[in-house]
């Protein structure tokens, strides 16, 4: 556009002559003389000085879709190798946990709680070993002391562990976001009281509370206890979430776009959900991603102590607990569940860090 002479003549005579041949920077500046709106060409005289610049270098007319900040963040996340590794690994683990037990059941007949009836099979085989000691694909991770397939148990344990992590995080997300947003939005005395309650709760050794809770309801069915575990873990991990959300809402509340929304008559509910929440979301997402491994670790810890998931259900924590008893003789009973869990936690942390980098507010303008 710069090179070829424009076919549209302006009112001003000799305007091209006024153009300096070369500036100190070596390129002739494009004078803001013409503006195109649809099919009309406007010239300088119609626009005040300098107003036309927005149009001056328009080549294409079709609408340009912008890049939202979410898409920008997604692009940055994809460039982060560790985060991509984390995502892929998590996806693999999640899929394997979902369909893996079904496949094993279809091919070998083993499930997480299938104990072979034959007495010769009720012993711990090393990985890839058949009953006669030859190589076999039957138990890639071996079997445990009662002859159960460890791979099936690890994958099933993955279901439980991941579900605990995700559901508890969702519980903490719901409580934390609503509590924190309310405190931040109401401000003043209400905020003071609400946040002091959080401070007090922080001071309580929450692991003890969870243990007491789980001990109190020890008579429940395994699934009932699992539900209780979700709730208990979620209920203690919302405190930091509430603080993060409150801080976000407080800083956003004084941003001019919130004032602008109020000035244009937007109702308070719409301000919260259309303006405040989407902008407070990025640290929340990051924190939630980092809460999942935290909760999974706590679940493992509780299961390890015997308070968490109990037989016939299993989780990575309780598998490790079982494995550690026979660590010296049957190391594969400990190694496989703990390595799987460690890799998953690592992946979640990589993903969380990657998300933090991608959603970092300081890079927003970039």
């Amino acid at each position: 556009m710069k090179d070829e002479p424009s076919p549209i003549q302006t009112n001003e005579v000799g305007l091209d002559k006024l153009k300096p041949a070369l500036t100190s920077l070596g390129t002739p500046p494009e004078p803001p003389v013409r503006a195109r709106r649809g099919n009309t060409i406007h010239t300088t005289s119609e626009l005040a000085i300098g107003e036309g610049d927005v149009y001056s270098n328009e080549a294409e007319i079709e609408a340009v879709a912008g890049k939202s900040l979410w898409r920008d963040a997604w692009r940055r996340l994809r460039r982060n190798r560790l985060a991509v590794f984390g995502m892929v690994f998590l996806l693999v683990i999640a899929c394997a946990s979902l369909v893996g037990p079904l496949i094993i059941k279809a091919t070998t007949g083993y499930t997480h709680d299938y104990i072979p009836s034959e007495a010769s099979l009720i012993k711990s085989f090393p990985p890839f070993t058949d009953t006669d000691g030859s190589f076999s694909w039957k138990h890639p991770m071996g079997t445990d002391t009662t002859g159960r397939d460890i791979l099936a148990r690890v994958l099933f344990g993955g279901r439980v562990s991941l579900t605990v992590g995700i559901i508890s995080t969702i519980v903490s997300l719901i409580i934390g976001v609503s509590y924190g947003a309310t405190a931040g939005y109401l401000d003043g005395r209400t905020d003071d009281v609400m946040m002091r309650i959080v401070d007090v709760l922080y001071a309580i050794p929450y692991m003890m509370v969870v243990i007491v809770l789980l001990a109190m309801f020890s008579g429940q069915t395994p699934h009932g206890r699992l539900l209780l575990l979700f709730l208990a873990l979620g209920a203690v991990s919302w405190l930091t979430m509430a603080r993060i959300v409150r801080g976000q809402v407080l800083s956003l509340k004084n941003q001019e776009f919130i004032l602008a929304a109020r000035a244009t008559g937007v109702s308070p509910t719409k301000i919260i959900f259309r303006h405040l929440v989407p902008n407070a979301l990025s640290p929340v997402i990051v924190y939630a991603t980092l809460t999942v491994p935290q909760v999974m670790l706590q679940e493992a810890f509780l299961s390890f102590l015997g308070f968490g998931v109990q037989a016939p259900l299993t989780s990575w924590g309780s598998l490790a607990f079982e494995g550690i008893q026979n660590m010296a003789i049957f190391p594969w009973q400990l190694i496989f569940p703990s390595v799987t869990m460690a890799l998953t936690l690592l992946s979640l942390n990589f993903l969380g860090d990657g998300l933090r980098d991608a959603l970092d507010p300081q890079m927003r303008r970039g």
Binding site: V64, S68, G265
Partner: protein, 383 residues
């Protein structure tokens, strides 16, 4: 503190309200003795306990806006100038109830905006809009330009269908000099000047009568400043807008404003026609302020005499007794620290709040030392 509060009601009765005195129709907006006080007291219970037990004043109050009266007429641009922290922005926000005023009235179309309920106020907001200082932070980074400009249109149901909203948004974008093809873009993809145009388009979306422009150009490059001011002037002509143009840039205000109001520590100290106030300021503070503007002519600039004010703006928490400016005023006399000067019409349509000048003796330099001819316009607050 207590006597300053005592003077307020009397002030209303004697103070002249700066507006245009000639019959020029009804003012669009009448600000009457507007106050915005922020209560700092009661931060903690402990504070209250200790203060009460020591018998000190129980609250600390920031008087961001302290008894401002001003008439703004349809179609005019009133420039509001003053140092940082003098309450300019707070005044602008209080007019639109973005900050709640704690006293006084804002009369718009014979209704006191300060008394409206939140629901009523939301309906009136159609007529009163605002342009913000930071063009980026005034736009929701998660929304496209189309949604940002379209939001007020949808809120007030000004367009029926989605297509009509979009047509209206395109029209607004063209009005402010943005290409409608950017409608799906996000604010961070624009330059500062373009972002400010988006902000202006949003303000125009409701066809308002009155726009508070809160330092709309101070975050922009100087060349972009000119563009935005030209745009604002063109829009004013085309849409018969009324502006309150808040700025600390005196040259910008001279360019755009019809009348100028000078603010100091929450009070208006001088109000006059823009040409008049730059040529012959009356109040010592205005003189100092105007003398600080550089002149783009090296010869004039070389001999230009600057009035250097000593000291900082006093904290609005413990604002000085009497005239708020007396601590820094080269003309201050003893009485100045005892009396709160009120705006008086020194010359036709030229109001100033200074006891050392009066209609008979408008030039402070020729007033005899120690005399205060403007004293009869004010109320004695001590003794």
């Amino acid at each position: 503190m207590s006597f300053a509060e005592g003077v307020a009601p009397e002030a209303t009765s004697t103070q002249a309200t700066p507006g245009i005195t000639e019959p020029n129709g009804e003012p669009l907006l009448s600000i009457r003795n507007l106050e915005v006080h922020f209560d700092l007291g009661g931060a903690t219970v402990w504070d209250k306990v200790t203060r009460a037990s020591l018998g000190r004043a129980s609250r600390r109050v920031v008087k961001a806006v302290d008894g401002v009266s001003l008439d703004i007429h349809p179609g005019e641009t009133v420039g509001l100038v003053g140092e940082s922290g003098c309450g300019k922005s707070t005044l602008g926000r209080a007019l639109l109830r973005l900050t709640e005023p704690t006293g006084g009235q804002v009369l718009f179309k014979n209704r006191d905006l300060a008394q409206l309920t939140a629901r009523e106020m939301r309906r009136v907001r159609r007529h009163l809009q605002m342009i913000f200082q930071d063009p980026y932070s005034s736009l929701n980074p998660r929304m496209t330009v189309g949604r940002i400009i379209g939001e007020p249109v949808k809120t007030f149901d000004l367009a029926g269908s989605r297509a009509e909203v979009e047509a209206r948004v395109c029209e607004l974008m063209e009005t402010v000099g943005l290409s409608p093809r950017f409608i799906k873009r996000y604010p961070h993809e624009f330059s500062g000047g373009q972002q400010q145009r988006i902000g202006i388009a949003r303000a125009l979306a409701l066809n308002p009568d009155f726009i508070v422009a809160d330092e709309p150009i101070s975050a922009l490059d100087i060349s972009i400043q000119a563009q935005i001011m030209n745009l604002m002037q063109r829009l004013q002509r085309e849409k018969n807008l009324t502006y309150l143009f808040i700025s600390h840039d005196l040259r910008a205000v001279r360019h755009i404003a019809d009348r100028v109001a000078v603010m100091y520590l929450g009070r208006l100290v001088e109000v006059a026609d823009a040409r008049v106030i730059y040529a012959e300021p009356l109040m010592p503070y205005t003189k100092a302020l105007i003398s600080a503007v550089p002149v783009p002519d090296p010869e004039v600039e070389a001999v230009r005499r600057r009035i250097i004010l000593e000291g900082d703006v006093p904290s609005p928490v413990n604002s000085p007794s009497g005239c708020p400016f007396h601590t820094r005023c080269p003309y201050a006399i003893q009485v100045c620290s005892e009396i709160v000067p009120l705006l008086a019409e020194i010359k036709p349509n030229h109001f100033a709040a200074c006891i050392r000048i009066s209609a008979e003796h408008p030039d402070i330099d020729t007033v005899e030392p120690g005399r205060a001819p403007g004293l009869q316009n004010t109320v004695r607050v001590t003794g």
